[in-house]
């Protein structure tokens, strides 16, 4: 795509997100607790129509073939409005894995469906908490017929409540297999755990699930490499979401500091709160600087080590900053901040869910240390 077209797309995206976010009512987010409807398919279709689900997908599959820098604009804007739909899970994590597939028939079907909003795939790769290693898995794919029989279970699957199926990583004699397993496949059961923001993490249990050859997305080192890259890219876009969360939470809080009166003065005139607000602002700006810097690195398609380091830098900073800022937003609101009615509570909860997904700050710092510090030091 030519630079002029890119710029046009980017500006269009930015405007459409801003307009959309302006119309969002947080009442729907509050209701999630009771309804579990984290993905309203009508909203999802609208998001598809606005082109957001296809930002990263290749044009051949109906996407825009844009960069992470563009996707970040969408993710950040929607996160500010607490939109609960699984944008990053589908349009980054799943889309990236599917785009790399060399099974053209399956790829077209799934990726075009994803972009159009008709087909929602969820990636099921992780099994152990705190592990970002795509090879640290126990789900087994043993040859059966022209395909595989799969056993084991996957955890921490996001965007699964209304998913039509799962992209599952499995071990086989010939390395990793990335397999498409429709939700209603015999032997596949899904179970949900409620998360802080009332969205759901799924656990997928596979008992002798048959997967035909036509459902193999990718195999071997290509599969593992593709999955690892998708996870890094999704981690980076979660960072963008966290930036949206923290900036809106801080905005609300600064507004409160300017208007809430105690002891005859706006509480924002108390220096202790001013300095704390400044420290939160610094964390916000750091996050945004790191996000910008590292997205540029990622969009340059560097080697795997550089890519993982950039993704970890984003996730570590943005996760910890968002947790700090949203928690302090509660504190600075005082008692009202501790009620369900106060919006900052919604932000702290979304921050917790996003921070923990695909490795929290600590996990990413550990990963960064492993490749960037320890390997160099030895």
């Amino acid at each position: 795509m030519a630079q002029a077209d890119l710029n046009e797309h980017r500006s269009m995206l930015s405007n459409s997100v801003t307009n959309f976010a302006r119309g969002v009512d947080l009442a729907r987010v509050r209701k999630l607790r009771d309804t579990n409807a984290e993905c309203d398919r009508a909203v999802w279709t609208q998001m598809a129509e606005l082109g957001w689900l296809g930002v990263l997908a290749p044009e051949a599959c109906g996407g825009m073939g844009l960069k992470l820098g563009d996707m970040a604009i969408v993710a950040q804007g929607l996160a500010r409005a607490l939109v609960p739909e699984p944008l990053t899970a589908a349009a980054v994590l799943a889309a990236r894995v599917l785009a790399d597939s060399n099974n053209d028939t399956l790829k077209s079907k799934l990726l075009e469906g994803l972009v159009s909003g008709e087909m929602l795939p969820a990636v099921a790769w992780q099994e152990e908490a705190g592990s970002l290693d795509v090879n640290n898995i126990n789900v087994q794919a043993t040859p059966a017929g022209d395909g595989f029989r799969v056993n084991g279970s996957k955890r921490f699957i996001m965007g699964a409540t209304s998913a039509e199926g799962f992209i599952v990583s499995a071990k086989s004699a010939h390395g990793m297999q990335l397999l498409w397993i429709p939700r209603d496949t015999a032997g596949a059961t899904v179970q949900f755990d409620r998360l802080a923001d009332n969205r759901q993490a799924a656990t997928l249990t596979l008992a002798n699930v048959s997967v035909p050859k036509t459902h193999i997305i990718n195999s071997g080192d290509i599969a593992a490499g593709s999955l690892a890259r998708a996870i890094d890219h999704a981690s980076a876009i979660i960072g963008a979401e966290l930036c949206g969360i923290m900036s809106r939470s801080l905005e609300i809080t600064l507004e409160y500091l300017k208007t809430r009166v105690q002891f005859g003065k706006a509480i924002g005139s108390f220096q202790a709160l001013q300095h704390r607000a400044v420290d939160l602002y610094i964390q916000q700006e750091l996050s945004s600087a790191v996000l910008g810097d590292c997205l540029a690195v990622l969009d340059g398609e560097p080697d795997a080590k550089t890519r993982s380091a950039a993704a970890s830098r984003i996730k570590a900073r943005c996760a910890d900053a968002a947790l700090l800022i949203t928690r302090q937003s509660i504190q600075m609101h005082g008692a009202i901040g501790y009620t369900e009615d106060c919006d900052v509570g919604l932000y702290v909860k979304r921050a917790m869910t996003l921070a923990a997904w695909l490795g929290n700050g600590h996990t990413h710092r550990r990963r960064y240390a492993k490749t960037e510090i320890l390997e160099g030091a030895l």
Partner: protein
Amino acid sequence: MNAAATAAKVDYNAMDDEAFRREARAFFENEYPENLRFLPRRLSWVESKPWWLSLSKKGWLAPNWPVEHGGMGLEPGKLIIYWEETERAGIGRMPDQGVTMVGPTLIRFGNEAQRAQYLPKILSGDNVWCQGYSEPNAGSDLASLRTEAVLDGDHYVINGSKIWTSMAHHATNIYVLVRTDKAVKQQRGISFLLVDMKTPGITFRTIRNIAGHEEFCQVFFDNVCTHKDNLVGKLNEGWTIAKGLLTFERLNIGSPRRPLQAFEQLDTLARAQKLFDDPGFVDRYTQLKMDLNDLGSLYQRYVDKARRSEALGPDISMLKVFAMDTYQKLAELLLEAGAEYGAYADEVMLADEKIDLMTPFYTSRPGTIYGGSNEIQRNILSKYVLQLPN
């Protein structure tokens, strides 16, 4: 003298520490309802009542009240054992304002008639108390309260509204701070009244907390009458009582036992996930464990002071500040150490252990806000202890 008072005549302070601990442990283990252990929220009154009555029957409901009023009269060392065993058994927090706040206040500031009227009903569970301090738009600035009471014949007539009243929807009685003299400066002209929640003119709306539980109420007073005998202490001197109660509350909130509850979860998580094999985790865990132990030493200093009947000065604010900061750090480490599970809203099963990662996070938040926010506590320490200029 009722059964409770009789039972309380055992001199627990004379018992060997370990023997007392064994008795407490056995009682809590055997008698407390299994389904209410380690609950991720406070107990409702309906849930609490059977245990309240069990405690009362044994004379163990009010461990810190003097024996002559039906308490256990425990000295601080024994009191801590009592609390430790309470936590160990996972006993939930009941609507205990009567035991923790009203009882000590009436014992210290009330008159004989008030003690006779109210203390036994607290022990028997007939009266359940809630607190009416904060007001909308007053928040930390407690002295700016505007709910007023005017004496009309034998009754005070109350008008206004209180907010952040915990569990008011389960309470039979409320103690309120009201303005009884508008002509004088903020802290003066405030009185301390006791009110029956069934008095005509009282209404309330419930407020859900951040965890989604109906923890608070806003209570509205529309020409609510309470007999003038329900004035505790002197007219217009309620601020002294409130301050005294806040000091009690700070000693209470500054005890290591609430953070200890979070430690229970952290320990379980660490064992289940083999985090003690990770020296980086151990470093962070140890820091907080030692903070908690050191909080214990500081707390002990105040407990000893209270035991010697010395007045607890404004410096006690530091206890609340440090306790609540430690509690929050601990709850935050629990979420971080939980990795992906750190976002789970409900209990998780790990290595056959049930772990609640999120509840300590929520329960640790209000500690830095209520009872005078940590910011207010620091102002108090700055002004009254360090005597820094305004």
